[in-house]
Amino acid sequence: MTAPDDRRPRSEGDRRHPRGMILEVAGLTMRFGGLTAVSAVSFAALRGEITAVIGPNGAGKTTLFNCITGFYRPSSGAIRLHRTGELPVDLHGLPGHRIAQAGVARTFQNIRLFPGMTALENLLVAQHNKLMAATGFGIGAVLGLSRYPKAERQAIELARHWLSATHLLDRADDPAGALPYGAQRRLEIARAMCTEPTLLCLDEPAAGLNPRESEELARLLQEIRAQGTSLLLIEHDMGVVMKISDRVVVLDHGKLIADATPAEVRADPKVIAAYLGEGEEDEVEA
């Protein structure tokens, strides 16, 4: 059993990556009544890497995700965001919108866009806090006395950048709800990126995409990584996971059973047992 306040640095990871970790999950436990969905999970996501969280259905991946992004408050344990040149932020004590402001953006397993607003408007809503500060919190903007027009131009430029990165530029003025499914997935990623996050959390981004779209998605995620944002993703599509992930964390029945490179995980007997149901997977030690 790992103590809840365990925060051993992942020394081998730090050695590999001098820039260090971006997200640290230490002894995280989440209970719903009698059900322990996530039990004493500790791992770290490294800066500038794509970390994938995989596991069979019901392994606690989405619960873990909701804890990290503030939609659940963990029963015990700690989640820390390490930003360059700043003190680490304890995400487990922050309300949801503050976590997003701290630099953690997320997408949803079942897409949550603003369907009645255009793609462009969706991306501008994502830049709300930045624009709001430029308007003098609403008052200045109504009177037309502010730096708002310039801030809005910059916001549109950022939106245009992500629209073209997700191949949605020609759909910018269409309502988000009228876009095809794959485009909605991409738009959700673009919207999350418009908050200019340091860590992007994606909940099954490839779900429901065809092979060609998955391919495009993998390329997009690699592009995002190249631009300096670290990624954490839950994914079922092993093709995508094995291809783009730098590190894979495997959960089963709420416990961490592996945390290694894709190649190592693929060869790990515990992981194979968890996925294929061989042996007594309930007895597998974390």
């Binding site: 997003a100 607003m117 809503v125 709300h128 709001m132 903007a141 003025d173």
Partner: protein, 427 residues
């Protein structure tokens, strides 16, 4: 449905109608002049009724069938046409409202209706911020109207402050109470929020009735100062210090009415202008995003509580302005004027007009309040006509007169967003 199938369907409906009406209408026992009973047969009436059912059913299926063929998303051709018309419609309406007092044949009565309609346009626009943009169902909007009215009445009575000082104060006080109400209740959603706001509206009214030492209780407050033209009273004496005397006009009671008309016209336009500006600002976009998906807003770092509170406060502020205007216009206010039915009417205006649509709300206010006055000579039938009209609008246009949404910004061209995609908000 093919025409043949529709005819068959209508024939079946007519047959059912015949089965019902044959006994109910076709046969009737009457008393004959000799005192005995005899059976009167009225087959012509039955045929007429069956004919109406047949024709009605046929028309309904053909019409509904035609409607079902349309794609569900995207604006309908009719809506697009209306939208094109709307571009001229709103300025035309504005111009008509601007010159209304000087149109020959417009007397005191018509102007009074105009003032009433504009008051409700303003209230509708104010509530539209809360219900239409932010998607928060508020059934107690009249509370802020009451707070505005009593703020002006009491400040004028106890401190002798003029209308022009009290007007912003009334708005600020109403916004303050909007925040006070908002803090505890905004974590509630949908129906629960509606019930608590309804209760808040009633609490304010009950407090006004029972706090007799301050508010005069059920007797209300009378003798509220009338507005002045920036210090010049509208007195009938025509003296040097009065409006008529200063401008060298014949003293006339219509001056004050015209002034009140322009005052509420200006206040309503102010509400509209602020709403339109805010909609293009991050705050307004955040309100609409909140209406569409609250959880997504949270994941984008939007402070939901503050955003909802700002919608509540700004909506309440315009309710407060309207209340202060109401008090100065009536010169008498009592809790009777701020019952739940007022909240219901304002909400009905917003819903009938189309959530979030400024032009729709104005038209709905004109139809509802103006129409209500026009049908005054129908007496007790008026409510029936009114109710039927509402049912018809809701059947034909379930998302209100204008349910579509115009984007606030575009890279190339702004295209109208179909009503199917626009969220209604769940609190």
């Amino acid at each position: 449905m093919t025409p043949a199938a529709a005819v068959r369907d209508a024939a079946i409906a007519a047959l059912v109608a015949f089965g019902l009406f044959a006994m109910l209408v076709g046969l009737r026992t009457d008393v004959s002049p000799t005192g005995g009973l005899f059976l009167r047969q009225r087959w012509a009436d039955v045929a007429l009724l069956c004919g109406i059912v047949f024709a009605g059913r046929l028309a309904l299926t053909l019409w509904l069938g035609r409607r079902a063929l349309r794609p569900s998303t995207g604006p309908t051709p009719l809506t697009l046409q209306l939208q094109r018309l709307g571009r001229f419609f709103a300025p035309a309406m504005l111009a008509a409202a601007l010159v209304l007092p000087f149109i020959p044949g417009i007397g005191r009565y018509e102007l009074d209706i105009g003032i009433l309609v504009l008051t409700y346009v303003m209230l509708g626009w104010g509530l539209n911020i809360v219900v239409g943009l932010a998607g928060l169902l508020d059934l107690g909007y009249v509370a802020f109207y009451a707070i505005g009215a009593y703020s002006y009445a009491l400040l004028a009575q106890y401190f002798g402050l003029s209308f022009w000082i009290c007007l912003p104060l009334a708005g600020i006080l109403a916004a303050f109470w909007g925040v006070i109400l908002g803090f505890p209740v905004l974590r509630l959603r949908g129906d629960y929020l509606a019930i608590v706001t309804l209760a808040f509206g009633e609490i304010i009214r009950v407090v006004l009735i029972n706090w007799a030492s301050l508010t005069g209780g059920p007797n209300g407050i009378s003798g509220i100062p009338r507005p002045t033209f920036f210090g010049l009273p509208f007195s009938m004496s025509g003296g040097e210090g009065s409006f008529a005397g200063f401008f060298g006009l014949e003293p006339s009671p219509s001056h004050r009415v015209i002034f009140l008309y322009y005052l509420i016209f200006f206040l309503a336009l102010l509400t509209n202008w602020v709403t339109i500006r805010l909609r293009r600002q991050p705050l307004g976009r955040a309100w609409e995003a909140l209406r569409e998906d609250e959880i997504a807003c949270r994941s984008l770092g939007i402070n939901i509580r503050d955003t909802k509170l700002s919608a509540f406060a700004i909506g309440a502020m315009f309710g407060g302005f309207a209340g202060a205007f109401f008090a100065t216009r009536q010169a008498f206010i009592s809790p009777e004027s701020f019952t739940f039915i007022e909240s219901a009417i304002i909400l009905a205006i917003v819903v009938l007009g189309g959530l979030g649509s400024q032009v729709g709300v104005a038209v709905a206010a004109l139809v509802m309040i103006g129409g209500f006055e026009v049908f005054r000579n129908l007496e007790e039938w008026r409510m029936l006509v009114f109710g039927a009209a509402m049912v018809v609008i809701m059947v034909l246009r379930p998302r209100g007169l204008i349910g579509t949404r115009t984007p606030t910004i575009a890279l190339k061209e702004k295209r109208i967003i179909g009503k199917d995609l626009v969220g209604e908000g769940r609190g």
